[in-house]
């Protein structure tokens, strides 16, 4: 983990202590799980005060086949910064979990315009609706796709 990241993580913990549900900080990944009610606030803080100016990827993970077998979808925003050179070797990800039965959440495109296409991909691959997204339509899948979202564990590819 980058040394420049530690003060930022402390800062985040001080400010949003109760909203941070879990934290993995090691050499493999730095991931902070944020409460959904504070998500936008945390995101705006990260963008404006800490300088995370773009999103490198938005990952969806269907948690239904993990060891805990949660009926949840985890959304992970991998953040990056071009403005702050001290953080160029740092990885930071914020995540939250959604109920797989009603995967509706809010879009962060108003904070990070760079996540527009990434959110669209999560929408079609996991069926997650991002409210406030400017153009939530199919991106990679064909227009006639009528099966369930393909990256859900429930979806079995043909021939398996």
């Amino acid at each position: 983990m980058s040394e420049a990241l530690q003060p930022l993580l402390d800062d985040l913990a001080n400010r949003f202590g109760e909203a941070i549900k879990s934290k993995i900080v090691d050499r493999k990944i730095v991931k902070i799980e944020v409460g959904r009610e504070k998500l936008k606030e945390v995101a705006r803080y990260l963008r404006e005060k800490q300088g995370w100016d773009h999103v490198k990827a938005v990952t969806g993970v269907d948690l239904s086949r993990t060891s805990k077998k949660e009926k949840m979808i985890e959304i992970i925003y991998h953040l990056g910064t071009y403005a702050n050179e001290a953080l160029w070797n740092a990885d930071l990800a914020i995540s939250y979990k959604l109920d797989a039965a009603s995967p509706v959440t809010e879009s962060l495109t108003s904070i990070w315009p760079s996540c527009e296409y990434h959110e669209r991909e999560v929408f079609e691959m996991f069926g997650v609706r991002f409210e406030g997204h400017p153009n939530l339509s199919k991106l990679l899948l064909p227009e006639y796709w009528s099966d369930i979202p393909p990256l859900l564990k429930e979806y079995e590819p043909a021939g398996r």
Binding site: I24, R27, K28, I29, K31, D53, H54, V55, K56, A57, T59, V61, D62, R65, T66, S67, I76, H78, G80, Y82, A83, E85, W88, N89, D91, A93, T109, S110, W112, P113, S114, C115, E116, Y117, H118, E121, M125, P134, N135, K138, L139, L140, L141, P142, P150, L151, Y155, P157, R160
Partner: protein, 408 residues
């Protein structure tokens, strides 16, 4: 209204504005100028008023496939989306798996990976310039780039055993060592071209691998001077690309673009330097950046990068220690400890990132690929809005967008 429409208003002289609805056209996917990619463009006269990218024609579900294959059998199919830069696309996968396993490859493997990644960067850039040139009506570039690329592809096949898609990187090292000697046939073939260009014979005596690679790098370094005169300093190219498709620094940051496009806009961000991996911390090279962020700068940054890559390869061959090239032969049913890992590298087109989650089984639980081309998507509608229709090819090709990579 998308967020991207916040772009600063550019005054357009709407000569053809008759009050009618704009003409909407499909640009691609069969159009040779875009590859397997469609843009839906709206035109008013010669001016593009709107362009919406429509990727997905070559979506193969790599991420889903990765959940059904073992850690090792994932390697060959993960590199398929970018056959021009197959080392680049699977590099972070290998690094992330190594992070999860808590292993580090032997020193020699680190250098071999670097050599391979840089060779692929050059071959990928040459392919890019070949197409960039031909879509601007500059067919000499096309022929030159493909001729030169061939000898570098021979070099990758000498090391990795295949011209493209060599599945060379494996967790814990590389698949095989580079040969000690170069086959005389290969040297003869290269010498034929060498003599044609330079007028004298190549002299590398005993066909030693290191000396052959150094000779090839030196030759191409000289060849790049010819490229400068032929393409980058040519009237056609300058007129079609200078001050076209300008991407300002703050917009590049806001849209989160990567690679040569980002650096051409003045951000000196290169994972090889700012987030170094494998042998890169030991090597000396520059990161070229542009000033204006136009189509010309994007090409120049790529051009200068090839020169730096040649420098890196020559250094790496020199510094490469002897020793093993992988930790041990992994069984096909390798098990990776449970956990999550992120790795990012600088592929030919920019930052390649992987997120991998393991549940401790013989297959990954989730593999997320964030390829550079996908992150270039927002730049396409942004740069094309209010551009002239004749500027679509220079803008599109200057981004070095590769549809297959974006679609996965």
């Amino acid at each position: 209204m998308t967020v991207l429409e916040e772009r600063k208003e550019v005054k357009v002289v709407e000569v053809f504005d008759t009050g009618e609805a704009p003409l909407t056209l499909s640009y691609g996917p069969q159009h040779p100028g875009t590859g397997h990619f469609r843009m839906i463009i709206s035109l008013r006269g010669d001016t593009v008023v709107d362009a919406q990218p429509d990727p997905g024609f070559v979506h193969r579900g790599e991420e889903k496939m990765a959940e059904y294959k073992t850690w090792i059998t994932n390697i060959p199919h993960l590199e398929r989306p970018v056959i021009l830069d197959s080392a680049g696309i699977q590099y972070p996968y290998v690094l992330a798996v190594e992070k999860l396993m808590g292993v580090e490859p032997p020193e020699r493997a680190k250098y071999l990976r670097t050599i391979m990644a840089e060779l692929q960067r050059i071959t990928s850039h040459l392919y890019w310039f070949a197409l960039y040139g031909i879509f601007l009506g500059h067919s000499t570039t096309f022929l030159w780039c493909f001729t030169d690329r061939e000898y570098l592809v021979d070099l990758t096949s000498l090391i990795g055993g295949q011209r493209i898609t060599h599945a060379y990187f494996v967790p814990g090292g590389v698949r095989n060592d580079a040969p000690k000697k170069v086959p005389p046939g290969l040297v003869r073939e290269f010498n034929r071209y060498y003599r044609m260009v330079t007028g004298h014979d190549l002299n590398i005596g005993d066909n030693d691998f290191g000396r052959y690679v150094t000779a090839v790098c030196e030759f191409f370094d000289g060849r790049l001077d010819d490229y400068w005169d032929m393409l980058f300093n040519s009237e056609i190219f300058i007129h079609r690309t200078k001050n076209i498709g300008v991407l300002e620094r703050e917009d590049a940051v806001r849209l989160g673009v990567v690679g040569t496009t980002l650096r051409a806009s003045g951000v000196k961000y290169d994972n090889r330097v700012c987030n170094p991996y494998d042998a890169y911390p030991y090597l000396k090279f520059e990161v070229p950046v542009g000033e204006r962020g136009d189509c010309y700068d994007r090409a120049i940054v790529g051009f200068k990068e090839m020169r730096e890559s040649l420098k890196i390869i020559a250094q790496a061959v020199e510094m490469m220690p002897d020793g093993p090239v992988k930790l041990k032969q992994h069984p096909i049913n390798l098990r990776v400890p449970a956990g999550e890992a992120v790795a990012r590298t600088e592929a030919a087109r920019g930052e390649m990132m992987y997120y991998i989650r393991s549940e401790g089984g013989d297959k990954p639980y989730r593999v997320k690929i964030s390829p550079p081309s996908f992150r270039l998507l927002p730049a396409i509608p942004y740069l094309l809005r209010n551009a002239q229709i004749a500027d679509i090819p220079p803008i599109y090709w200057s981004l070095n967008y590769w549809p297959v990579e974006a679609d996965r």
